[in-house]
Symmetry: C2
Subunit: 274 residues, 2 copies
Amino acid sequence: VAPATFYDRLDATLHHQRTCLCVGLDPDPERTPAPLRGLDELDALRTFLEGVVEATQEHCAAFKFQLAAFLAYGPEGIGLIPPLMRKIGPERIRILDLKAGDFPNTMRLYGRGVFDRLGFEALTASPYLGWETVDEIAKDRSRGVFVLAHTSNPGSKDVQERTTEAGRPLWEELLGPLRERASSKNLGAVVGATFPAAVGKARQALGPEVPILAPGVGAQGGDLEATLRLGRGSGAGALLINNSRGVLYASTKADWKEAAGAEARRLAQAMRVA
Amino acid sequence: VAPATFYDRLDATLHHQRTCLCVGLDPDPERTPAPLRGLDELDALRTFLEGVVEATQEHCAAFKFQLAAFLAYGPEGIGLIPPLMRKIGPERIRILDLKAGDFPNTMRLYGRGVFDRLGFEALTASPYLGWETVDEIAKDRSRGVFVLAHTSNPGSKDVQERTTEAGRPLWEELLGPLRERASSKNLGAVVGATFPAAVGKARQALGPEVPILAPGVGAQGGDLEATLRLGRGSGAGALLINNSRGVLYASTKADWKEAAGAEARRLAQAMRVA
């Protein structure tokens, strides 16, 4: 029996969880909830993220781990990832956000670490080194690769929106080759929800089946309604919408855990999958 | 007393070591030297890299660690980095090659991990998310940030060489803003030695002072003589030339360590700093 493709896994998870909410585990050490501030920094981070996962996992389809937030604490920080992965388990899509973009032989090593060793279902990748980067890391069709197209930050204008000789922004020119490659049924695109028109353009160019991961709803001010309307594709929608700070820091007082759960529940309902 | 800028540190190191050789610690698990193959994979990697560092450090100005090669082994792999850093010590430029490219608040976390926690003197960064990425990670002027301009792989044509509406390749348009920012005296550029003409263009556009990190000499076939001629800048040259596989796998038999040292010595002489 051929293993399921990443598209199969994502679609089944979206149907099962009935929401496209992705909770971003991007903790900011400056914003640790007050009751945890007396702990050793690593214990505080572990307790915080375990609490967030416990409170939110019933409400979301996916978790996006930010590599930098763990690497900030060195090897011990990376050591927090495996127990969190086990706590979440394989019934959610677990994404490592590291924006990897390197030579094929290096991408193979990222695949070993991120997929085989740490067990993530998907990662984010940057196209700056070209398509050979993506082709190598996407060889295992059961694992997803979300390629950066148009990110949600103001700096996206500097390179991504640069106009090419064809008169189009660079990032839009990446969508055609991405769609072609997506016949492997494990490639997606990152398109920030702070630019809903970009989400719509990406959906049109990628066709209905290619998943879009849209960060930026919440603290960054992305438009949820427009992102849902313009970004949804076929099946269970082929769309994940990430919120990090809105959930993580719903409260930084004694009720931080309950508040994170309540905010995830509210967002999950606003992001219902029919 | 103001701390030295990265340019000061690099220039002093190049003068002291009298070579611009950077040894790349990009180990490939498929090519572990025969005498180490009986060991546990992590012990094999540790023994191999310790041996390479011992044999080559007198001959080089810098070491470039490839993050993926360590992350491939999960938290324990990242745990190999601190003892290697101590073994090398601060008299060489230690660069983490992770091609980080993310939001400013995430780049701040990469800085904590890579500079403050792990102790690297420099890292590589991708410009795909725009200049705010670079501006944040370059705030500490004592730490270097090498921004990807034109990489040494064939895929560099896909995005980096795309022609803009101004009729120039995208990567060349990044050199002007990079040069402006480099007044902070800690920014450099990555330009692959497999495209010596690109090294020359980068040197012209960046002026004499901005350091260039040029990988790709050796296994990738980059032209050493042309890279030296076209890439050298002012002071001690403001140039680092990386070789990974040529040194690491000079021999994969019993003499692997001596062979790595001999190859590093040979390259160091070919890359003499006057």
